[in-house]
């Protein structure tokens, strides 16, 4: 019954995407071209990668607000390495970015479990802390295009091919791995169990602290990965822009994708669709002549709408089910 509801939920997002694209396509026929599709495909990988981690965190009934700052700090440290040690093979940048992300994510997870602090407060604090560190290590200066390796930049353009650059391949690989982790590993199912009933979880032998730290480490790792891909996609790293507002886009996508803020419920396909819907919205705004300054407002409206939908679905599901239970009793 719930699963059917999810199918409907995912189908609902798909329908929203189709309706939205049809609408924009009628207004601006250019929206429905392959070129435009490629623009959307290039817009979504960073959000998608971040969303896979965030989805696990929210499913475990936590939240990670610090991913934008992790993206910024990981990108900045990697770019600094490119600038001051150009002799180091650029591919190691991935190791550095992901490694930094894991460490920052572990800090979040350990603070939350060791001191029993709420994730929303801890990651709000580290959001500011990690951003501040980015300013300190960079001396508040941008790393410009000439320092970012050309091969890295090509990964977002025409390597290995113009149609499907690496950045898209990486995003797809991350999504597949996340799907496997969430649905086909024991620890992945424990993430759902923890979010579904945190009281029962330890009684059933789930190591709650280990699972919690793990999801924050994964979220951090993926935010770090998105950091070096930011440098690839945009060709520069800026201490105040890189990653700012990233958590907002990611959480919006996750919630639109049907992941319940109350934990325990969420599907990877749903989140992917949620990411696509946001990608379509951001690609369409400039075409529709809506100024970039209004984007934040649109995102905000979309996340609030998604929350309202989530709530009404939950209420309907619960009332339908409790009706069922009464009938039984």
């Amino acid at each position: 019954m719930i699963q059917k509801l999810f199918l409907r939920r995912e189908a609902g997002i798909l329908l929203m995407i189709i309706l939205f694209c049809a609408f924009v396509g009628i207004m601006r026929p250019r929206f429905l071209t392959l070129d435009q599709f490629r623009i959307i495909l290039l817009l979504v990988p960073l959000i998608l990668i971040g969303a896979m981690g965030q989805m696990l965190v929210i499913t475990a009934r936590h939240v990670d607000l610090s991913i934008g700052s992790i993206q910024g700090l990981a990108a900045m440290l990697t770019a600094l390495m490119f600038k001051f040690h150009p002799e180091i093979p650029w591919g190691l940048g991935f190791v550095v970015a992901i490694g930094v992300g894991i460490i920052l994510g572990l800090v979040n997870g350990v603070l939350i479990t060791a001191f029993g602090l709420p994730a929303i407060i801890v990651t709000l604090g580290t959001l500011s802390l990690y951003r501040g560190l980015t300013f300190i290590v960079s001396n508040a200066k941008q790393i410009d295009r000439q320092f970012v390796p050309a091969a890295l930049k090509a990964m977002s353009q025409d390597s290995p091919s113009y149609a499907v650059p690496w950045i898209i391949v990486i995003a797809i690989a991350v999504a597949l791995a996340a799907y496997w982790f969430a649905n086909h590993t024991i620890i992945g199912r424990q993430v759902y169990a923890l979010g579904s009933n945190p009281v029962a979880a330890p009684l059933r032998g789930i190591r709650v602290n280990a699972v919690t730290i793990l999801v924050f480490a994964i979220s951090g790792a993926l935010a770090g990965l998105s950091g070096i891909l930011y440098a690839s996609r945009w060709g520069f790293v800026n201490p105040s822009n890189t990653g700012t507002g990233f958590e907002f886009q990611v959480i919006a996508a996750v919630v639109i994708g049907g992941v319940s803020i109350n934990g325990g419920i969420g599907s990877i396909p749903g989140v992917i669709l949620g990411v696509f819907l946001l990608g379509c919205v951001s690609a369409a705004l400039p075409l529709l002549g809506i100024p970039g300054t209004a984007q934040a407002a649109i995102y905000g409206a979309v996340i609030v709408m998604a929350l309202l939908i989530d709530r009404s679905v939950r209420i309907r599901a619960n009332s339908a089910l409790s009706g069922l239970q009464r009938g039984h009793a």
Partner: protein
Amino acid sequence: MPDGTLQHPVICATGISKSFAGIEVLRDVDLDLQRGEIHALLGENGAGKSTFAKILAGVHRPTRGTIDVNGSQADISSPIAAQRLGITLIHQEPLSFPDLSVAENLVLGRIGGSPLSGVPWKQMVRDAEALMQLLGVAIEVSRPMRGLSIADQQMVEIARALASDSRLIIMDEPTAPLTPKEVETLFTIARRLRDEGRTIVFISHRLEEVRALCDRVTIFRDGNKVITDTIENLTDGDIIRFMIGRPLKEYLKKQDVTIGDIALEVEGLSKPGYFVDINFKVRRGEIVGLGGLVGAGRTDVARALFGIAPAMEGTIRIHGKPVTIHDPSTAIDLGLAFVPEDRAVAGIFRTLSIETNITAAVPNKISAGGIINFFKEHGLAREAVQKLSIRLASLRQPIGELSGGNQQKVILARWLLTDPDILILDEPTRGIDIGVKAEFYDMIGELAAHGRAILLISSELPELLALCDRVLVMSEGRITADIPRAEATQETIMHAAVPRSIEGRAA
């Protein structure tokens, strides 16, 4: 059957004691549980039977005493340790993962292998289906737990116990939320498990069920084990006497009060699944007790009267006039006040000051046009604190810092400010120490003396006997007795409170 388990009981508990925050709730309990028996634990609420069961299941650790499992001493340090020893506790409302499938709920935390190893979905579903078939219940194992009836959730828990091959299955009041048919199914399965040589501990208030199902009973009273015997050796009368046999606390004198007109009259009040056909009257100056076991529906009646969860059928009359009460503010306007049972959840605003808590129900008395007059608030609160002798450091102190008894007084003060004609008190003295209790009894008596009608819900028999002019007794959603003060004894109340007939249960 392996040797060695034959001569030893499954459980041999010796000298088990347990204290919570310095209060001893279990004293020196010795108990053996044999292979292949269904063993009932009986006792009043708070007698210690559930605490004992939870110690066996690793939820609590005993303060003193040892437990041997299959003849060797065991340290049951956690529910997981208990499960490894073959002990499973089935909660009345099972703890599950509502968003996961039934099959996953069965094996969660039990599948071996590294955390990254794959989930054997197909095998899991096959095993789960086999277990369901074994139990003879039709539950689709790939559906989520959410939405299963409580009976089905219990079946899943039993299946889980079988999946880990538990030798001891403890059921804590499993039948309370079940329909008669579901109870029959449960009993059939319980008997079959016993015949396989498993041991079942069955906690229940229903003598009829205990008689129908159990081989031996152990009765607890005030934290002590009173007796263990086979069920045939005990009559219902014996059991009830053993359950309540504590020396009676001295009776309080109720003040002589002239009983006046009918203040509250209830006729045919019903709410399916909670209570059926409730009729009673409370007059001015009268204290009417509402006794019965926990879960008999007493609180539901009170909540219906106060408009929190209104009844579906029936009439409520206040001072002779029929009224409809759909929400608490209507009830307050009609002169009702309700001191709820669980003050931590429903009564206090923990972080707010004492004065704010006292004046919370009378916003109009302390404000003009929505602007609070703090001077007035302070004055009203100080008056109430003096009248009820509430012990505190400052009126501005958060109420959470007060003792339980003083918190309860603050709530009483709040409702007295509304100047109610009709006062409903739900377990007003639970968790309050003896000294403050006596003060409370005086206060309740005085309130009645001033012409208020009082409905007192209490599980403490001496309290009902001491204070009430009449005692109504509820059992399974119905009023089963209306006992005048002169005839009320612990026995008459308990006889009416203990459900005996499975057929007689509320639908």
